[in-house]
């Protein structure tokens, strides 16, 4: 009877597999509890790597848990009549199960390099080598299409600042907003991320973007929203993913996607609204004081 204790490994195996099998379905919940829809250009690389690791670790999980189950079943003292295998180990086995996992792990690390570099190191503002000079692809384009936006996190909101018609931040025509980040579709968006008080983290699950905002640092974040059908409105939630105090949970923002034309007209409209209500000089002064 005692060999039935081996079921603990089998139950682990089955339960774990089931959890991952039903998560992407709607059998138990209204929406899948799984990777949210991805609308970014680089996100599918991240998802691919996730599935790659899931497949590899899944195979190892199934194999090791099954071996554990099988050995526990077979070598139960009450039923196993063979004498104990008096063995202190096997040199060749050790070499096999050192070298194979080592090579696999190293391979797993190497395949991440490109995607990581794309997401965090190859700022589209600069040349393809990631070092100097303006990107030739972007040269000659309208500056505000470059869509540099400054996002300043503070307890507990996202402050947004767009460059005005001059395409430069920190000038009197800057445009201000809170918690609503408007971006053009199918264009590189470069966010200059700052924090005014404590750590925050700028997390857009649908765009596979996450970057901590650190007081005293200005960190570039970039992404490109892919929208194939311009008639479908798109907007995503911004989540704060670094503990920032009591109302951390409520620090919600929104990304609203426009066509490049809509985006420009939005900025113009916003600037007119803003000029009508506040003196732009005062607004700039307030902005740079941050």
């Amino acid at each position: 009877m005692s060999k039935y204790w081996s079921l603990m490994a089998l139950v682990t195996l089955v339960f774990g597999t089931l959890c991952f099998a039903v998560a992407p379905t709607t059998w138990f919940w209204d929406k899948p509890i799984w990777l949210p829809d991805d609308y970014s250009e680089h996100g599918h690389e991240i998802d691919k790597l996730y599935y790659f690791i899931l497949a590899l670790t899944g195979v190892v999980f199934l194999a090791t848990e099954f071996i554990l189950f099988y050995f526990m079943w077979k070598y139960d003292a009450n039923t196993n009549k063979e004498p104990v295998k008096y063995s202190h180990g096997s040199h060749s086995l050790e070499i096999v199960w050192t070298i194979i996992p080592a090579a696999t792990l190293l391979f797993m690390a190497i395949v991440q390099f490109n995607s990581w570099a794309e997401a965090k190191m190859q700022n589209p503002m600069y040349g393809p080598d990631g070092v100097a000079g303006p990107n030739p692809d972007l040269e000659g384009k309208d500056d505000d299409l470059l869509a540099t936006v400054e996002v300043t996190a503070r307890q507990w909101e996202w402050r947004i600042r767009y460059p005005g018609a001059d395409g430069r931040l920190g000038t009197p025509d800057d445009i201000f907003d809170v918690n609503e980040l408007h971006v053009p579709a199918n264009e590189d968006v470069i966010v200059s991320l700052k924090s005014q008080d404590v750590l925050h983290s700028f997390f857009i699950p649908n765009l596979r973007v996450k970057q901590d905002a650190v007081p005293g640092m200005k960190i570039p974040v970039w992404f490109k929203v892919v929208r194939t059908d311009p008639n479908v409105p798109l907007d995503f939630e911004i989540v704060c993913a670094e503990h920032c105090g009591a109302r951390h949970y409520a620090m919600k923002g929104r990304v609203i996607v426009h066509s490049p034309e809509e985006y420009r007209s939005f900025l113009r409209r916003k600037f007119q609204e803003q000029s009508a209500t506040v003196d732009p000089q005062a607004a700039t002064a307030a902005g740079s004081a941050q």
């Binding site: 603990m8 959890c19 919940w29 799984w34 990777l35 949210p36 196993n80 996992p101 690390a109 993913a241």
Partner: protein, 598 residues
């Protein structure tokens, strides 16, 4: 060490007067009493930490509803937990579990109790220092416990205490006073650990019984030895960083705050510092601390598995080399906590490679555990069940770590429930299950009585099921991007459909905590009424099993001489299926052999 001495005679040699109650049970210098003091203290904190977790879980399942029991603190809100309290609860749950439970229960309780017994020594090298290492925990107990009652409440900046929420006193209520007490508590835990580690290193190097070479040490001792090394080299960094943060908070220095850092109209320092500096210093300790919280458990599990598989440990030396490898690599992987922190992304690549490689020794250990039970005769005792579940669960915890090590994937799952799943599989499903196994296993040596096997198995089954129902779904929550530390995530469209799953997990967590009542009753009842255990109830080879149960002062009533390693089960040299380390080989000189004790 050189002469055979009986426990009673030894006690009088040492003290020259009859030992009083105070010097025997309270300010004792006996490693066994200190170990049991650590065990009781940490188990009590385990209960407190578990209840804190339940309050956190309640809020995640039913946000802003009246909390049972804990809600009594908020009569004005109708028993509903304010978000400030939520941040305090998750901060203190983690801090208590890590600093007052996992680290001291492994090194303090089992390290103290087992090291001298397993190496055949009469006590630690520095008994007074050992006593102090326990009593220096008490200021930490008072600081952590008392911080709940100061203005603003206990620390609420997360157990990682990232500046500037921790350094600026207006950033959160817990940062007003609680954070200072937290830092002081941390300092005392550090002093205690440092005293312990110096003592363990000296004892293991200097006081092994004749014949006990380093490569004849049980894996438990290797785990403790490597852990002590990690503590000794990593802790000073955390202690220094803690003092720097304390000065930032109270003296207006600016190690971790940049210029002009104002929170809620309050500025603590002139600035000039860097918040990321703290993260580097903190993780330089706290990543090795992750191994401090698992290596001794791995060692104890190895001993238990070999004993109940009735078979030598598979690949003893690879096991030793892999924990040494973990210790070495453990110092160069801290940056994987900081992939999205704003640290230079180029460094991220380096840390990714080292982090991937640290999975290798863990894999080797798992394969060797499987190799150990292969071809054995497994006895399914309660300690063995917990030890085997450690292996089954550690596989999950180990594999899920690879997701976070991959930097691009970490961009998405960083600070989601995926990481919460990962470290609970390592720390609860791993270490805590290993610790339960170790308690059932060494209980007869500690108290001279056996724990009840049937109730032990009931405890195992319930804990195992509830634990998996609590922690496994966290993986898929993480895949869905569900962030950790949110008092209420359901106002996000992305997460509002995840509430029913969270409710299921909360009820599983309640079941898991409730199952521990069985363990507590079994533990206390067995201390007084359990069946009396002989010296070696499990028929094990280790030196500790040749001492009386419980061992008297001075441990051994004979001079232990070691003839072999601790894993000689099923050896063809003997007719028994075990071959104690002290038993002389059949052809040995009879005059030199120690008297036989059974």
């Amino acid at each position: 060490m050189s002469t055979v001495s009986l426990p009673s005679a030894h006690a009088h040699d040492d003290h020259g007067h009859a030992a009083s109650f105070w010097s025997t049970y309270v300010f004792s210098k006996d490693h066994k009493v200190i170990g049991i003091q650590f065990l009781f203290s940490t188990l009590i904190w385990f209960v407190i930490g578990g209840l804190l977790a339940l309050a956190v879980r309640w809020q995640i399942a039913y946000p802003w509803s009246s909390v049972p029991l804990y809600g009594a603190n908020f009569p004005a809100e109708g028993g509903q937990m304010p978000p400030e309290a939520y941040t305090m609860l998750f901060t203190m749950h983690a801090s208590v579990m890590i600093f007052l439970v996992m680290i001291p229960i492994l090194a303090g309780a089992f390290g103290n109790f087992l090291i001298p017994l397993m190496i055949g020594a009469d006590d630690m090298a520095f008994p007074t220092l050992n006593m102090l290492s326990y009593w220096f925990m008490w200021p930490a107990f008072f600081f952590f416990g008392g911080s709940f009652f100061v203005e603003g409440g206990a620390a609420a900046a997360g157990w990682t205490s990232y500046p500037t929420i921790s350094t600026n006193t207006a950033a959160s209520p817990g940062s007003l006073n609680g954070q200072t007490l937290w830092l002081l508590g941390l300092t005392f835990v550090g002093i205690s650990s440092m005293m312990g580690s110096v003592n363990y290193l000296t004892t293991i190097i200097q006081m092994r019984a004749p014949g006990l070479t380093m490569f004849r040490l049980p894996m438990t001792i290797w785990g403790m030895f490597i852990t002590a090394l990690l503590q000794a080299f990593a802790l000073p960094v955390l202690t220094a960083a803690g003092f720097m943060q304390l000065m930032d908070r109270s003296l207006g220095t600016g190690f971790f705050s940049p210029e002009g850092n104002i929170v809620g109209n309050h500025m603590n320092s002139a600035g000039g510092g860097q918040p990321l500096l703290w993260q580097h210093l903190f993780w330089f300790y706290s990543h090795p601390a992750v191994y401090i919280m698992i290596l001794p458990a791995m060692g104890m599990v190895s001993d238990i598995i070999s004993c109940f598989a009735r078979k030598p440990l598979f690949g003893y030396k690879p096991m030793v080399y892999s924990i040494s490898g973990i210790a070495g690599l453990g110092f160069v992987v801290w940056g994987h906590h900081m992939f999205v922190s704003g640290m230079n992304p180029g460094l991220g690549m380096t840390f990714m490679v080292s982090t991937m490689m640290i999975a290798l020794p863990s894999a080797i250990k798992t394969f060797n555990w499987l190799g150990t039970i292969w071809g054995g005769k497994i006895q399914y005792t309660t300690p063995m069940l917990f030890a085997l579940s450690f292996v089954a669960m550690f596989i999950i915890g180990g594999l899920s770590g690879i997701f976070m090590a991959a930097t691009p994937v970490d961009i998405f799952i960083h600070d989601t429930y995926f990481i919460v799943a990962h470290f609970h599989y390592v720390l609860f499903a791993g270490t805590a299950m290993g610790v339960f196994g170790a308690i059932y296993f060494w209980f007869p040596k500690m108290f001279g009585r056996m724990m009840n096997e049937t109730w032990g198995k009931v405890h195992f089954v319930l804990t195992f099921i509830f634990m998996n129902c609590t922690f496994f779904p966290m993986h898929i929550l993480g895949a869905g991007g569900f962030p950790r530390r949110l008092a209420d995530a359901y106002h996000y469209e992305l997460f509002n459909h995840m509430q029913p799953l969270n409710q299921f997990m909360t009820w599983a967590a309640i079941g898991m905590v409730a199952s521990q009542i069985i363990f507590a009753v079994n533990f206390i009842y067995s201390m007084f009424y359990g069946p009396v255990a002989g010296r070696n109830p499990w028929h094990c080879n280790g030196l500790e099993w040749s001492a009386p149960s419980p061992p008297g002062h001075g441990n051994f009533d004979f001079q232990p001489i070691v003839y072999r390693g601790p894993y000689e089960y099923g050896s063809p040299e003997t007719t028994e299926d075990y071959y104690p380390q002290i038993q002389p080989p059949p052809n040995a000189d009879k005059a030199r052999s120690p008297s036989q004790h059974k």
